[in-house]
Symmetry: C2
Subunit: 363 residues, 2 copies
């Protein structure tokens, strides 16, 4: 995604969410208001947050603190936590978004709790059954998207179909792909491969008007074979973290291999910056987080282990997603699809395909 | 795994299985009998196989052909294929194993068909509910095992528990680990994370006498945090293929990064062999395939895209697994566990733990 001029936005940041909160979260927020033209509402325990804020120089008072007395721990059961802790930092962030006091929310806390709080409180976009997290994946041929990477570990075929729908729109509006190739992550290319859920999802996608290229195997995750990789949140989350871990360890892997050969050691030294670049390119810190797509509001989910840099980038992404009005695009497209379907039902045979939604692709 | 002196074994090889069969399969078999002291029964369409065999010099007639008139295609529904095609190459391989005409089977064909044929015909080891494929994973700290990587895409918690049991025994008997650390691949370290199946499997493992270290996330797949990674066959297969794809593309990734910097280009040239070594280390061709553990017989499953070198190594692995009598170890241990459980039930309180099965660890 290219740098862009952001119109001033107000972003609520969950000050208590993440393994290194509140310290690194406040640091990331301070960095974001320094680098971008936006305002931040830090949500969480006031005293703690103010003590952390005092460590940074905040331009023009662009960070305010909104008190929330409770914290959802990483290991807590999401639904129970949201029911019991009405004044948790994540629940209050979502409340502020619902009241339109902010334009978006960023949280690095318990993912399940963020999903539960936002689904219950904000609700979903019309027609959408479950939200999914979408992230950018660096490949040999540019950026692909993967959806879902952790919101929904037990999806139905219809959920996967809707991830394809939202991924298609996200790819066109944010990544500017004309007609994104959609692939279903599976254990084999053949239609007969996979779980009961992926087999059924395959049928739904094959019968759709998407540019569905079929199942893709793990080996094609990084080849850029498709623009949108549709997967369940369980495998998506594991694959994403595995890749990050692998790239983090890449330099160490190579060092180990090189340790007994002087020429190779020199070689390693000379291309170290290239290796570090690769690591950076595949690093979640650069993307910062992924949008929880399908919600009636903009929520960005970051890793629990987010650094200040990752938080800063997640805040930037939140502002971009608001700017590009991804949710507006999804609503427009779903409405258009429903209308086309209804018209097709009224005017033509039952076998006709729905109208091409890609005709109105905003470029 | 170190090189070892193999006593002469007879291995049935599915001559028609795999994307490049029969050519590369026959080539791999020819290589195996040249490199190792074993005999091979090539199963499949006689004329085709004999034509391929004529291209190679086979020492001492150590490859014979056993005719099978049918072939199971990669995209066929496994159970239907096995029901209809009684004379398929994979079914005949399994028949030969059942009749003890061979010591083990190697196939690079339709995995589901191999699993179905061997489960139906050979049956499972006493007490085992579903077979799982175990493979070696290179990590920063030596070799780990992953089980299951594709036999069972919809496992129950009990299946996962049994994968831990078999992985533990495999790790002790083949990898010579004293008390293998067992981890459950999941979306978070906390017990509350994951699918209904992984949550239940976590409980079973926690209450067991394994050295269970809890959930491991994707980022720890390659750090060697545990010796045995337990996972479902869907995520296991995707993760394995993704990693292979990533390492295959690694050199290309780095080349791309280096293309505009002469010093880095030189560096890349100097450490190219190290990079190729890493690719080799993580290459499925070296392992050749994974054992389908839990069967009453030794069956090695190779990738559909296996090269001749991968087939040669899969045949070597088959001979090793027979040599180490992994199945015998599993049967002994399960019997001992059942006995200990029964004794514990007779002599002590209901809360007592089962006897330590690791005491009789064969080193």
């Amino acid at each position: 995604m290219q740098e862009m001029a952001l119109t001033p936005r107000r972003i609520a940041v969950d000050g208590m969410g993440g393994d290194y909160a509140p310290g690194v979260v406040v640091q990331g927020a301070a960095q974001a208001v320094t680098d971008f033209d936006l305002e931040i509402v830090l949500v969480g325990q006031e005293q703690l947050l103010k003590r952390e804020l005092a460590k940074h120089k905040i331009p023009g008072g662009r960070i305010t603190v909104h008190h929330a007395s409770q914290v959802v721990d990483m290991g807590e059961s999401p639904v129970q936590a949201i029911r019991k802790k009405k004044d948790s930092s994540v629940a209050v962030c979502i409340d502020l978004l619902k009241q339109k006091a902010v334009d978006a929310v960023v949280t690095a806390g318990n993912t399940g709790a963020a999903v539960a709080a936002s689904t219950l409180n904000l609700g979903l976009l019309p027609g959408i059954k479950r939200p999914g997290i979408v992230v950018s994946i660096p490949t040999l041929h540019g950026i692909s998207l993967a959806i879902d990477v952790g919101a929904n570990v037990d999806p139905t075929p219809e959920h996967l179909f809707q991830y394809a729908l939202m991924g298609d729109i996200y790819s066109r509006s944010i990544c500017k792909k004309r007609r994104p190739a959609i692939g279903l992550l599976n254990v084999g290319e053949e239609e007969s491969k996979g779980t009961t859920v992926t087999k059924e999802a395959y049928k739904l996608l094959r019968e759709s008007d998407f540019n569905f290229i079929g199942n893709i195997e793990g080996r094609d995750f990084f080849t850029g074979k498709c623009d949108v990789i549709v997967c369940d949140g369980f495998v998506g989350n594991i694959v994403l973290k595995l890749t990050e871990g692998l790239f983090e360890n890449l330099v160490e892997f190579i060092k180990k291999e090189l340790s007994q050969n002087y020429l190779a050691q020199l070689g390693s030294f000379l291309c170290k910056s290239a290796l570090l670049n690769i690591r950076k390119e595949a690093n979640y810190e650069e993307a910062g987080g992924g949008q929880l797509l399908g919600l009636n509001g903009v929520v960005i989910i970051s890793h629990g282990s987010s650094t200040a840099w990752a938080i800063r980038n997640a805040i930037k992404k939140a502002a971009q997603v608001v700017e590009f009005d991804v949710n507006g695009h999804i609503v427009t497209e779903i409405t258009q699809r429903d209308k086309s379907k209804a018209e097709a039902g009224n005017h033509s045979s039952a076998n006709s395909k729905p109208a091409q939604p890609h005709a109105d692709d905003k470029k």
